[in-house]
């Protein structure tokens, strides 16, 4: 269609009502698709789905969680059941991963051990998340002298040797904890884990939140310059509201990523401590303690070390890769 001009030099085009026609169904739909609201989470999920490694890790994590939490109830054995006559068996159809010197099914023990490891990983990460994000955001928001003092405390804690504290703490809390277990029944499941694991939780609560606190403080220092924080204080919002409603929701990406990457590091610390004999108490199993027990007969029964070691590696690798993928998905600026 050739467009007629009003006059030769003008830029105006002569239009009549016939030049317009209603948009077709297809065109309307296309327009809707173009303007469809892409929220932050949808966008992040779309980017995450494109990342194959992250998606594979996610599937591995989910399978592992099923393995660890549903698995033990499907197994014909319990983790502390000693099957007479089945001692020191190599992997076979009756015991897929073999048995140890007391005749306990290794598959069940690896499943239960993985469960402990995941509980510790997620639990410690949550402790770190709560303490770290609150501490960091308070320091960042208040600023000035308060911030200075709070961050010096963080630096002091940073320099404390954590393994030493765990060992000392375990010795100190062992007795009072045992008394508490004997008197009260509410702590029943903690009792099963033993004072070693409780000490690990406490140490995470005492020492490991500092990294999170630093990251959150940095974010808050940046976010509190934003105009909407000014707007909220002009409306009369107090600091609690600023932190919980505005600052923390706006660093949710960082919080999720840091927490996700905290999980494998906590699992590793637990395995390491259990390997040294500082973790769960017998007969409870964790991946680290299984590896440690296996070390005695590693020459004759290498598979006993192999299975828990593979489990540790898979969990840590999957959580790390998934955390990395999540970082790319939640923070589009990080992507190349």
């Amino acid at each position: 269609m050739k467009l007629q001009k009003n006059n030769l030099l003008s830029m105006q085009i002569k239009l009549s009502p016939e030049d317009f026609e209603p948009a077709t169904k297809q065109e309307q739909e296309d327009l809707n698709k173009l303007t469809a609201n892409t929220s932050y989470w949808k966008d992040a999920w779309r980017r995450l789905k494109q990342n194959k490694i992250a998606m594979i890790s996610l599937v591995v994590i989910i399978l592992f969680i099923i393995f660890a939490f549903v698995g033990p109830s499907l197994s014909p054995y319990t983790y502390d059941q000693q099957v007479r006559g089945d001692e020191n068996m190599a992997p076979n159809l009756k015991h897929l991963f073999g048995t140890d010197q007391l005749g306990r099914d290794l598959l069940t023990r690896v499943m239960v051990g993985s469960r402990i490891s995941i509980i510790i990983g997620v639990g410690s990460a949550l402790i770190v998340l709560i303490i770290g994000s609150l501490y960091g955001s308070i320091a960042g928001l208040l600023g000035g002298v308060t911030d200075n003092i709070m961050m010096r405390i963080v630096e002091i804690i940073y320099s404390v040797p954590d393994i030493l504290i765990i060992i000392l703490l375990q010795i100190v809390i062992k007795e009072p904890l045992q008394k508490a277990f004997d008197s009260g029944s509410a702590l029943g499941w903690l009792q099963k884990l033993g004072p070693g694991i409780v000490a690990i939780f406490i140490v995470y609560g005492l020492l490991y939140w500092v990294g999170m606190a630093r990251i959150v403080r940095g974010q808050v220092l940046q976010l509190k310059q934003m105009e909407y924080i000014n707007a909220a204080s002009a409306l009369g919002a107090n600091n609690k509201r600023l932190i919980l409603k505005h600052l923390l929701p706006n660093c949710i990406g960082t919080l999720i990523i840091t927490t996700m990457l905290q999980i494998p590091s906590a699992i590793f610390t637990e395995s390491f401590l259990s390997f040294l004999g500082l973790g769960v108490s017998v007969p409870m199993a964790s991946l680290g303690s299984l590896a440690s027990e296996a070390l005695n007969g590693v020459q004759s029964y290498p598979y006993r070390l192999l299975f828990p070691a593979i489990a540790i590696s898979i969990i840590i690798l999957a959580f790390n890769l998934f955390g990395d993928g999540l970082r790319d998905a939640l923070d589009p600026k990080m992507k190349k």
Binding site: N37, M226, Y228, A231
Partner: protein
């Protein structure tokens, strides 16, 4: 200056806001607002103009105590609020921000943004009433109730500014600081927003402090206009009087810079061009802040700071060289 009567909603006396700058062991001050006194009558619009960095925004925010004043007094309805607990006063004094993209929390729905002041001041116990209030606020500023469930990034600049205005209106304030509310918007939208602010004022009797650097908009909306230069108020008068008879040399320069949409008059117009740049507020000139660029500066200007004096009824200016 200023008559102490009940008509003044806001009165500020010798207000100062200094920002300390630390360099090594030395601490120096940026004098963003220095010794400003003015009053705002109930129901009027006071325009505040001046070039970038002259302290307009800082003045507006200091009045709301978003910055703590370094000196001077702020009176609201005759009571000193310089040290008062601001929480109850936040319902009386509100602010509309310059940048509609930065002033709305990206993680909150529009309904929650507009409803936040209602929650902070616990204005509604009932969820349904609160929701109705949010809808009515959105409708007041020309948005739909369906918009309440959306997020700020789904809106255009003009719509976002309307959301910001709805949020400020939620507490039913008396006094609103409009901190360059239209300078981030394009011209056709500017007119819509300015007209809406005027309609709201006619309907609800708001008092505005309207900060802007666009002189034509300020002229359109203001009853009186204050001119700021380097943290000081240099002239304050009725808006017509300012355009007809600017007394301060800086105001004269500012007015001569307004572009005229007619080439013929524009060419014949005598434009005053200033020499040099604005001096640094870290190290302001002695005496009159404008003397370094003033075509009429004398010895006296370097030694004495001119006080804001009244020339004719309600026309204040701070200059030594006004003959009247």
């Amino acid at each position: 200056m200023g008559s102490q009567n009940n008509e003044n909603l806001i009165e500020i006396k010798n207000l100062k806001k200094y920002f300390p700058i630390k360099s090594g062991f030395k601490t120096s001050n940026v004098k963003a607002v220095d010794d400003v006194s003015l009053f705002i009558k109930k129901g009027e619009t006071l325009g505040l103009v001046g070039e970038s960095g002259c302290g307009k925004t800082t003045l507006g925010r200091t009045i709301l105590r978003l910055h703590e004043p370094s000196g001077g007094q702020i009176l609201y309805n005759g009571t000193d609020i310089t040290k008062a607990n601001m929480h109850p006063l936040r319902r009386k004094m509100q602010i509309i921000f310059q940048d509609p993209y930065a002033s709305l929390d990206p993680r909150m729905t529009v309904g929650d943004i507009v409803g936040e002041p209602l929650d902070i001041h616990k204005m509604f116990q009932n969820k349904k009433d609160r929701q109705e209030k949010i809808y009515s606020l959105l409708e007041t500023v020309g948005l739909n109730r369906e918009h309440a469930n959306r997020f700020p990034h789904e809106f255009s600049g003009g719509q976002r500014q309307r959301i910001g205005i709805a949020r400020a209106l939620a507490v039913e304030p008396e006094f609103i600081v409009c901190d360059e509310p239209v300078s981030a918007l394009d011209v056709s939208i500017q007119a819509q927003i300015v007209n809406m602010l005027e309609d709201l004022q006619a309907e609800k009797g708001f008092t505005y402090l309207f900060i802007a650097h666009d002189l034509s908009i300020v002229k359109h909306i203001s009853n009186r206009i204050g001119v700021m230069y380097l943290g000081h108020l240099v002239e304050l008068t009725e808006s017509k009087e300012l355009y007809r008879n600017p007394l301060h040399p800086y105001t004269q320069t500012l007015l001569s810079a307004i572009p005229i949409a007619d080439p013929k008059t524009s060419r014949s117009k005598n434009r005053i061009v200033l020499e040099g740049d604005i001096p640094s507020p870290l190290n302001p000139p002695s005496g009159c802040p404008f003397r370094t660029r003033c075509p009429h500066a004398t010895e006296r200007c370097a030694q004495e700071r001119p006080e804001l004096k009244e020339y004719g009824s309600g026309h204040f200016a701070a200059c030594h060289n006004i003959k009247q």
